[in-house]
Symmetry: C2
Subunit: 217 residues, 2 copies
């Protein structure tokens, strides 16, 4: 997508960085190109020198995010590890992607919530490829008798939902004073650990019969 072979943080890169902040915090409609320009220490006209429009700027940023996440997910799925390890790696991949590109989760969430209004069909399909990739891992585990049947989308929601909420909620969390929310600080590793546990449990084959819980020690 980026046609310029620039390496140094030139104006274009600064615009992209500033626009990510802005879009993530305010959404497409709430984003303000004047603010972006100021944050990039540039003039608004420069934005339109580098990008056709606000929409094009947004689309480029968003597609780059999705592509990066999808690439990592596919790498995991194509690796030779066993299914459970792949699931764990998938979770880590998404988490690290989100940690590396802190603006990805919020934009992703908004786009999903908005029905994908600000992206083209191709990008929308890329979004769908993520759960599809997860589905391949599940199919593999199922063929080996290690996973039970589960709708890939529900599994995807079970992983991505908590993860994305964790990242995205940081600003609200800091504004909320409710003790139970503030009490213990939250680290990404804690979130990952919980999601791994819940996800692998959700994938475990059914026990032959009986109650699902409460086996006496």
């Amino acid at each position: 997508m980026a046609k310029a072979p620039k390496v140094r943080p030139g104006s274009r890169a600064r615009i992209l960085a500033a626009a990510q902040d802005e879009f993530a915090a305010r959404g497409f409609d709430g984003a303000n190109m004047d603010r972006v320009a100021r944050a990039a220490r540039l003039n608004k006209a420069m934005i339109y020198y580098h990008f056709r429009s606000k929409a094009a700027l947004y689309a480029e940023i968003f597609q780059a995010f999705i592509r990066a996440a999808l690439d990592r997910a596919r790498e995991v799925a194509d690796s030779p590890a066993d299914p459970a390890t792949k699931i764990r790696a998938f979770i880590r991949a998404v988490a690290e992607e989100a940690a590396t590109r802190p603006h990805f989760p919020a934009m992703w969430l908004r786009e999903v919530a908005g029905g994908g209004r600000h992206v083209d069909r191709a990008t929308l399909e890329l979004i769908g490829e993520l759960p599809a990739t997860l589905g391949r891992i599940v199919a593999e585990g199922r063929a080996q008798g290690r996973f039970r049947a589960i709708h890939p989308l529900l599994l995807h929601f079970g992983i991505v939902g908590p993860l994305v909420l964790f990242f995205v909620s940081r600003p609200v969390r800091q504004r909320i004073t409710v003790p139970a929310v503030r009490a213990v600080p939250l680290a990404m590793e804690d979130a990952i650990a919980e999601i791994e546990r819940a996800t692998l449990a959700a994938l475990a084959p059914d026990a032959p019969a009986g109650r699902p819980q409460g086996r006496p020690s």
Copy 2:
């Protein structure tokens, strides 16, 4: 909040309904008061007869949503059931709340993603009361030795994240053609079942030792 004792779907109610659609689909900044007026089969001026501003209209809608959800959650927490049953009931309560008020999930998500910019402090605290309520259930289960220690927020994310994604993603899902995503139709009960399973597994006390998975049949 609503000062009018009106019962019939008068203009005010129609505005509220239309505004919910609009805010949910487009977010606060993307929402257009002209569209709201048209959808309510009214004039834009009528909106400002009933509500002080776009922001006030939004705030009223949002707070009503949160209040309703929180009320149900507290009802569950205060019930005499055992902790695991309460957890299940909590999940159902949130799910039914979302199903009954289809615009709640999207607005909630956006507000969290935006750092709560469009709501006042009091409403923000209400948002925090939801995980806090969940925390009370966990504390109870822990005191009885039935749950392990877990950060209430992480548990909350594990429940609300998948649920909200499930509801919110319906429009995108319909636009995506990726086979794995479209294949099996998704029902709310399926989502609830998966979330219950994953959540209760996440709460189960640790086994004495050893690997967390793969006990041979």
